[in-house]
């Protein structure tokens, strides 16, 4: 075994590179800047393009143009930049433009704290678009996840023609960690599908009601259309309620109905555990330490670490909570994903531990909250 030392941000860049990303545009912002820096080293020598936009809006705009012209594209920012991306995120959702968007979260609100970590954008990533259609959000826990999940993110963006978020955190992005790169197994790479057969190309025609339209690039031999307006299969504005409804339903179902193919998670179950911790991101590593500490004691713990946050893997969560007396949700904000867990679990009581002060939630804090939950 040999180990490399790299930041989560560098791992995202390398993962993107190996996933075939050859277009990156970004605007410098701590704690995401080192993704831009690394892409600047990786792409130009590989016939790729890496540019710094005049602002975040331009950066994601470049990416959408390049993606529609056939390239795998990625951008990276932090919360203040996600705010500026919003209009183009909506565009990518509604007009089915593949793109990977990295949010290296920092403590908010607003410009907040540039060098403090947080998972404060978890609901923002889901709902920060007009129209409210679903998005895919993957949350890495460490440098290895940054590498692998980024490759998955590209596959999902290509397969479903949609934006895919990587919800990282300063505590992962700017922390250097050892990684056995040779042990990394990337998924087989997926390319957006071209149409089959000789029928005229219809840009937004999917073969089934929950499917994804085949892709032809702008600038290719076959003329292609793209529009941010509410459109029918041919890519022109439509006011036909039936066509609109079919399209919105398809945009929803193409993600929701295939969720089981991209529900990523880790489960650490201890025999005899009465409590299941549900967490994600950097915080799930504190939970994992707590689980390790309590293993073999009279009060062991289990952990469900979610790596697909959106669409919310409801079936998985319902299945895994079965048999546990206590459910404890831990996250680095004042209570965002816990609302989803409570909604899914209905009448079950859910204990919550959140913190939003720029410091990591510690294993000891988690153990204390678990003990409180047990005593109630």
């Amino acid at each position: 075994m040999s180990l490399s030392l790299l930041e989560g941000n560098e791992a995202i860049a390398w993962g993107a590179y190996h996933a075939g990303c050859r277009f990156f545009a970004g605007y410098p912002i701590t704690p995401a800047t080192t993704i831009l820096n690394t892409m600047m080293k990786l792409l130009p020598p590989s016939e790729g393009i890496c540019i710094q936009g005049e602002d975040e809006i331009a950066s994601i705009g470049f990416c959408l143009g390049a993606s529609m012209a056939g390239m795998k594209a990625m951008t990276a920012t932090s919360g203040p930049g996600i705010s500026l991306y919003s209009e183009n995120i909506s565009f990518a959702i509604g007009s089915e433009i593949p793109i990977v968007i990295v949010d290296v979260q920092r403590l908010g609100p607003s410009t907040g704290s540039a060098t403090k970590g947080s998972d404060g954008d978890i609901q923002f990533l889901r709902w920060g678009n007009s129209g409210g259609l679903p998005v895919i959000v993957l949350a890495p826990t460490d440098v290895a996840d940054c590498y692998v999940l980024t490759a998955h993110a590209f596959n999902l963006a290509e397969k479903f023609r949609c934006p895919v978020f990587i919800a990282s955190n300063k505590e992962i992005g700017m922390t250097r960690e050892s990684l056995d790169v040779d042990s990394i197994q990337l998924p087989p790479l997926i390319q957006r599908a071209a149409p089959v057969g000789n029928t005229p190309y219809i840009p937004f025609a999917a073969s089934d009601p929950d499917g994804v339209p085949p892709f032809m690039p702008i600038g290719g031999k076959t003329v292609a259309r793209q529009t941010s307006s509410t459109h029918g299969p041919e890519g022109y504005i439509t006011v036909d309620p039936e066509v609109i409804a079919q399209s919105q339903t398809r945009l929803t179902n193409k993600l929701i109905k295939h969720l089981d193919t991209y529900t990523f998670y880790e489960l650490h179950e201890e025999a005899g555990a009465d409590t299941l911790i549900i967490s994600y991101g950097i915080t799930s590593r504190s939970a994992k330490t707590a689980v390790a500490r309590c293993a073999g004691t009279p009060s062991p713990l289990s952990l469900l670490s979610l790596k697909t946050l959106w669409p919310i893997p409801e079936a998985l969560i319902r299945e895994k909570v079965a048999g546990y007396q206590n459910i404890v949700v831990v996250e680095m904000n004042l209570g965002q994903y816990v609302q989803e867990i409570k909604r899914i679990l209905g009448n079950r009581s859910v204990t919550f531990l959140g913190q939003m002060d720029g410091s990591l939630i510690t294993p000891t804090q988690i153990e204390e909250v678990v003990n409180d939950a047990r005593s109630h």
Binding site: L5, P45, A58, G65, A114, E177, T227, S228, K288
Partner: protein, 433 residues
């Protein structure tokens, strides 16, 4: 004659008398005269009535968000360098996308921008735009009377556009002017003055003649701007990218020494900017890698360079590192006052056998641990060398790392004179300790 590029299924439909219709026909004529096929052109349209252009052509088409057309066009052009990329934008998009306009001029990417300048927001009801004259009657009350309109051409030239022309939508050679702009190898922009009969001319007198006389009264803009002529962005980019060195592969460190410990170790390095605290933390991680340990490094420093605190939290562990924070440090290097003051809350985490190496010139509050004082100044160790020397001291004490691990780490991290200096420093650290 090359094919007509007007979309037969979607013929142009504007308000009666709208100059956009004339511009659409002229653009079609220009493209026809150039002899390009539908798949060699993309129309990227902005917002408002200029945002309808893409639908009226049988070419590639891209319609996006208000004011952002130039950003999409830039991405498309970089990905498809042989495509003719034409952006249609009104005076509305000109204002809302101002930052993109300036940057596109500066980049000089081979895109043609047609500004359909009709002095108001037609589609939303005739509100004032960035080019509305103060004397005009518009749908924004008196607001246009107290803002100075911009002259798009002067802005374009000042921002570095290589080709700028100001024309009337009604001049007879409009198609020829467009062709020249499209053929220009770099960013070209045309400020095309026209009439919005739906909104603007209902309350403002604008005719073909008033447009022409207004243009004639201004300094002319007739194409190439000599002061801005330079190589096109994309070709420069590809040329410069083509000679970049490929990045080195990720450095891999094999275990080559037996570790001196068999459980997780936490190290806290506290100092000030300029003491190379972060570099020392990185070297410590590499030293850990040489004995097969996993490593993590979390740093804390302000936005200033060479001023303020600098702190590094390093964890070395035989197994994967989960919680990457400091719970109970095994070793603390307290080398600079600012770092110590910044991390006072961490002092509570020190335990009885925490090894605390303290520079005698800093004050550290009462806390647990075994103190080991070093007078770096007396030993003539420079400020920027204290952190690295401290690693040498640890190595001489066989504390977490050995000298051979440290030297191996330095060989990974440094080269040339920097390496020689670092090796000499840690080798003499035994005398300091």
């Amino acid at each position: 004659m090359m094919p007509d590029l007007i979309n037969r299924n979607r013929p142009p439909a504007y308000c009666p008398g709208c100059s956009h219709e004339v511009v659409t026909r002229s653009l079609n004529s220009a493209l026809q005269h150039m002899g390009v096929d539908a798949n060699q052109v993309v129309i990227v349209s902005d917002i408002g009535c200029s945002g309808l252009f893409d639908t009226f052509f049988s070419t590639h088409a891209f319609h996006g968000l208000h004011g952002r057309a130039l950003t999409y066009a830039t991405g498309i052009k970089l990905a498809q360098p042989n495509l003719h990329v034409i952006v249609t934008m009104g005076d509305g998009g000109l204002g809302i996308g101002g930052a993109h306009l300036l940057s596109t001029c500066r980049r000089n990417i081979d895109i043609t921008l047609l500004i359909l300048n009709n002095f108001n927001y037609g589609m939303t009801g005739g509100q004032f735009s960035a080019t509305t004259p103060p004397e005009a009657q518009v749908g924004s009350g008196f607001l246009n009377q107290i803002e100075k309109p911009i002259d798009a051409c002067r802005v374009l030239r000042a921002a570095g556009a290589g080709y700028v022309s100001r024309v009337s939508a009604y001049q007879s050679d409009l198609a020829g002017e467009m062709e020249q702009a499209i053929q220009f190898n770099g960013f070209s922009a045309m400020d095309i003055w026209g009439i919005c009969p739906g909104r603007y001319t209902r309350r403002n007198k604008v005719t073909y003649k008033t447009i022409q006389s207004a243009i004639d009264s201004l300094p002319p803009f007739r194409g190439p701007v000599s002061e801005n002529i330079r190589e096109e962005y994309g070709s420069q980019y590809r040329q410069k990218a083509g000679v970049q060195e490929p990045p080195p592969p990720l450095l891999k460190v094999k275990k080559r020494f037996p570790a001196l410990f068999d459980e997780r170790k936490e190290i806290l390095i506290l100092g000030s900017a300029g003491q190379r605290i972060i570099t020392a933390g990185e070297v410590l991680c590499y030293a850990g890698l040489t004995c097969g340990q996993h490593a993590s490094q979390k740093n804390d420093y302000p936005i200033t360079v060479l001023r303020g605190h600098s702190a590094s939290e390093v964890i070395l562990s035989p197994g994967k590192i989960d919680f990457a924070g400091i719970a109970a440090p095994d070793v603390v290097l307290a080398l600079g006052q600012e770092g110590i003051d910044r991390k006072t809350t961490l002092l509570n985490t020190f335990v009885e056998d925490t090894f605390v190496l303290v520079d005698t010139n800093v004050d550290i509050p009462d806390c647990k641990g075994i103190r080991h004082r070093v007078d770096f100044k007396a030993k003539k160790i420079k400020r920027q060398d204290m952190a690295m020397a401290s690693l040498g001291i640890l190595a001489h004490h066989q504390k977490l790392i050995s000298l051979e691990m440290l030297e191996a780490a330095l060989r990974i991290r440094f080269q040339g004179k920097a390496l020689e200096g670092a090796l000499a420093l840690v080798r003499r650290a035994g005398d300091i300790a």
